[in-house]
């Protein structure tokens, strides 16, 4: 009772990275709250799936295995979560801010009248004093997220309703195994008792899923471009530099919107979050929507014509100059120094 729950997404029998990242965060929150971490896996042909999640410190895995539960559709997954949450009364429930989590989360929160905060960038436990009603709250979940186009950072709490629900994007939290030997319990859910026949009103008639081709999330070096790159031609310079030094190309939302790069390369609040050892920001002004997705980079080089660009506050090296001048020089100097 009153544990931390994580809804685990499944694609082709594999638990999604975002879910494993949330289990890692969930473990930390459960430790802080001195409670247990429970995972929920809903899908089909899930035999052995507990082995994928337990090493992340899961004390109990709930498994709902039925051929009608994969691929994901809204209503049966909602019914299972709503009933399970009513029975188990979790204090916290986390899910990925993916097309599944963002479809399922609000539905569940609406049914349970519990608060849900989307796209959190940080989750911590803390207290709260409601001065107006003279009430003290202990150990609430602070759900921290950029809001209002990233111009503010808001801390949201759900003082009175449970579970406290939050979604988090892929790559925002770190994924860390507690121990390969970590042992938890397995609980099989009797699906018939949780779903209604009318939950299967939506049929998936066609489905084409691709493995993500671009892998900027795990890249050690990222050369990222913003609107200031100016053109597709200039963007090709970024690709060249990335190839030469062994990195991937990333982009800000403005650069993606301008058509310089594809959406899967987008870094920031509405894209992926990255933590490379080197981040080269080219023509990126550094709005928080973007920096939220790269601020944990170990080293940042900012190249910008504006010497007062906000990105410079994150930079270890600031180069004031034009992309078309600076990048060819970097490429040339790299080649000369690695001969």
């Amino acid at each position: 009772m009153n544990n931390v729950f994580v809804y685990c997404e499944i694609e082709e029998g594999q638990v999604a990275d975002v879910s494993l990242e949330l289990l890692t965060k969930g473990r930390k929150l459960a430790d802080d709250l001195k409670c247990e971490l429970e995972a929920i896996v809903i899908g089909h042909e899930l035999k052995g799936v507990e082995k994928q999640v337990m090493p992340f410190g899961v004390d109990k895995v709930w498994i709902a295995d039925d051929k009608r539960l994969y691929p994901y559709t809204t209503l049966p997954h909602t019914s299972i979560l709503v009933k399970l949450f009513e029975e188990e009364k979790p204090q916290i429930a986390l899910m990925g801010a993916t097309s599944i989590g963002r479809d399922l989360g609000p539905r569940v929160s609406s049914a349970l009248h519990s608060g849900l905060t989307a796209d959190c960038t940080s989750l911590v436990i803390g207290d709260h004093e409601d001065k107006k009603n003279k009430k003290e709250y202990k150990d609430l979940l602070y759900q921290i997220r950029p809001a209002f186009g990233g111009n503010i950072v808001a801390t949201i709490i759900n003082p009175d309703c449970r579970p406290q629900m939050a979604t988090v994007r892929e790559g925002v939290m770190k994924k860390e195994i507690v121990s390969d030997a970590y042992k938890g319990k397995v609980k099989n859910i009797d699906v018939e008792k949780y779903v209604k026949p009318e939950d299967f009103v939506i049929k998936v008639i066609e489905r084409h899923m691709e493995k993500s081709k671009v892998n900027i999330k795990n890249a050690g070096i990222i050369v990222a471009g913003g609107y200031g790159v100016g053109s597709k031609e200039n963007f090709a310079l970024l690709t060249e530099l990335a190839e030469v030094i062994g990195g991937e190309v990333g982009a800000s939302r403005a650069a993606v919107d301008a058509g310089f790069a594809s959406h899967e390369r987008q870094i920031g609040q509405t894209g992926v979050t990255v933590r490379p050892k080197l981040y080269i920001a080219c023509g990126i002004s550094g709005q928080i929507q973007h920096t939220a997705g790269m601020e944990e980079s170990a080293m940042v080089i900012a190249i910008n014509t504006d010497k007062n660009a906000p990105i410079n506050a994150f930079a270890d090296y600031v180069i004031t100059g034009d992309i078309a001048t600076v990048l060819p020089k970097m490429i040339k100097q790299y080649k000369e120094n690695t001969k």
């Binding site: 111009n151 506050a313 090296y317």
Partner: protein
């Protein structure tokens, strides 16, 4: 054949892409008055899907529903200019401070009052919150199924709806029964532009709260042309439980808000010269960052 009854949920949002210094009030809340207000971009994609169904199925009626202050009626006018048939502005101080759940509750009570609806279409999310919660929460409160992340409503006939969805890693086509709640992605076709004929027809369309300082001539114009009256509902026009409205009905509370302040950190400033770039590369190679 009998057409569809479609309601498009649209929101007027501050243009968060153009935020100025006076955007925040001293108490940390958003000063909406200081920002340009626009039709939420994905709600325009939603409107286009509705208008396409109207083009396809004769007799279809498209109604916009928006919740907000009087000036949010602008969203309804923009919809009328593009081919919507009518609109309702839901406006009341009782809704102030609503989070997504309280907003969904107010909208769902309104939709219940609007009678039989075949398809409710909304943008996936609004740019001021980016939560994508209101669509699914409305669906749940109405006991209707939902199809989110829609890119194309392929058909909606004989009680069935077929929708192509765009997900992070692919596409999916799903079929469901009407009535249905659909939320539409930005990847769906852009909304058609204003139609000059509709602009002429509806440019004087107003909601009641916009008519407070109207001249007698203007009031006469409206009584002669009923289509210029934008429906405006208050909390008294819908059946609600007061505890579920506004701030009281919102389980999430804002504990604190910080304006984003950039912290200065010592950075090495380099010139875009061969010499400086050479030094930089030597350093990066020496400390194993690259190479």
């Amino acid at each position: 054949m009998k057409g569809l009854k479609i309601v498009v949920l649209a929101k007027q949002v501050p243009d968060t892409r153009n935020v100025g210094k006076d955007a925040m009030k001293a108490d940390g809340t958003v000063n909406r008055a200081a920002l340009p207000a626009i039709f939420n971009p994905e709600d325009l994609n939603a409107l286009e899907q509705a208008l396409r169904l109207k083009d396809k199925y004769e007799g279809t009626e498209v109604t916009l529903l928006t919740m907000g202050p009087g000036r949010a009626a602008e969203v309804i006018r923009e919809g009328l200019y593009r081919g919507a048939d009518n609109g309702i502005l839901l406006s009341d101080r009782a809704f102030a401070g609503s989070d997504t759940l309280a907003t969904s509750y107010a909208l769902s009570c309104t939709l219940k009052k609007m009678g039989k609806i075949d398809v409710i279409i909304a943008g996936r999310q609004a740019i001021d919150g980016d939560t994508a919660q209101v669509g699914p929460q409305v669906a749940e409160k109405l006991g209707l199924p939902q199809i989110t992340y829609a890119e194309d409503i392929e058909s909606a006939e004989k009680g069935k709806i077929v929708v192509k969805r765009r997900l992070e890693r692919g596409v999916e086509t799903v079929e469901g029964k009407l009535p249905m709640v659909v939320t539409v992605n930005a990847s769906a076709p852009e909304c058609r532009p204003r139609n000059a004929k509709f602009v002429m027809k509806y440019k004087h369309a107003r909601a009641v709260s916009e008519m407070q300082n109207a001249t007698e001539d203007y009031i006469a114009l409206h009584s002669n042309r009923p289509y210029l009256n934008i429906g405006e509902w208050s909390v008294n026009d819908i059946d609600t439980n007061a505890e579920e409205l506004g701030l009281t009905g919102s389980p999430t509370k804002v504990k604190s808000i910080e304006n984003v302040v950039f912290q200065a950190k010592e950075a090495k400033v380099l010139e875009p010269t061969d010499a400086d770039m050479g030094e930089l590369m030597k350093e990066l190679i020496a400390n194993h960052t690259i190479g």
